[in-house]
Symmetry: C2
Subunit: 132 residues, 2 copies
DNA sequence: CACTTATTTAGAATCATTATAAACTGGCTA
DNA sequence: TAGCCAGTTTATAATGATTCTAAATAAGTG
């Protein structure tokens, strides 16, 4: 199975719950952005058994740690995650509270001129807020 | 007084509490980043009377709405604010959980090529995560 | 199967933030 | 200056996302 190896290779046991969450997160045409509550709803809509909220949190954090998900820095009372783990940026529609991907080519190269002693750059993320 | 006019001109009554918070926030050499709890501590350290936590929240939100403060988009359980309301960007030191200002000149112009119908760009913020 | 360790789970706890509603105050007007 | 009132402050409760707990269950191993 597609996700069994992915999980085993990461040192995560391929449990029924994790495999079902993998289907919801990764067996899609397009990548997407989500909060835990939105993911919980998606899971409810697509499987018959119940997965506890604690497991959804546990799984999302495990996947994030393994690099299969990333958090998007944004001001919201809920944490946003992204199934697109490539380097890219975001529009944030303030009215609809929706994230839209901005490819690197839509933004152009960003050259950070300032250096901090003993630190290196891990990521560069651009957030473009949109209003009507 | 310096802040009385500022508040009046914004349609905010210059109350004792607001004026004291203005002193803490704006009567400084350098701008700074803070969470509500950090600000609460600063207020306690610099005034004799008590200001309720609710008033600190109310005031910070009022000042943000008037453009005297801005939120910094970052993944944290607490909201970060900035007394520097000019267009600028941030380093985020993941280890020390500290924010460092990045001036526009340190980043260079950012040209967002993608357009979203009916929306206009309100702000462009760059977050550069630093690791050791 | 027997055993160990990881995982799931319901529910409680945490904690930043927001809501409530009563008391208070700044500013205007008579 | 007194009186009024909308705006503000305040203690406290409520909310809600997230994390914690500890017992039950499931996966891997020999
Ligand atoms: Mn958060
Ligand atoms: Mn927040
Ligand atoms: Zn994205
Ligand atoms: Zn700043």
């Amino acid at each position: 199975m597609k996700y069994i190896d992915k999980l085993r290779n990461s040192g995560l046991r391929p449990t029924k719950q994790r495999l079902q969450i993998c289907e919801v997160l990764f067996n899609t045409e397009k990548t997407f952005h989500f909060t835990i509550n939105q993911l919980e709803q998606k899971i409810k809509d697509s499987i018959d058994n119940k997965i506890s909220l604690a497991t959804v949190y546990n799984t999302v954090h495990a996947f994030e740690k393994k690099g299969y998900l990333k958090q998007i820095p944004i001001n919201s009372n809920q944490t946003y995650f992204d199934t697109n783990v490539t380097d890219h940026h975001h529009f944030y529609d303030l009215k609809d509270q929706k994230l839209i991907d901005l490819e690197n080519s839509d933004v152009g190269p960003i050259n950070i001129k300032k250096k901090i002693n003993g630190k290196r750059i891990k990521s560069v993320e651009v957030l473009v807020k949109l209003e009507d």
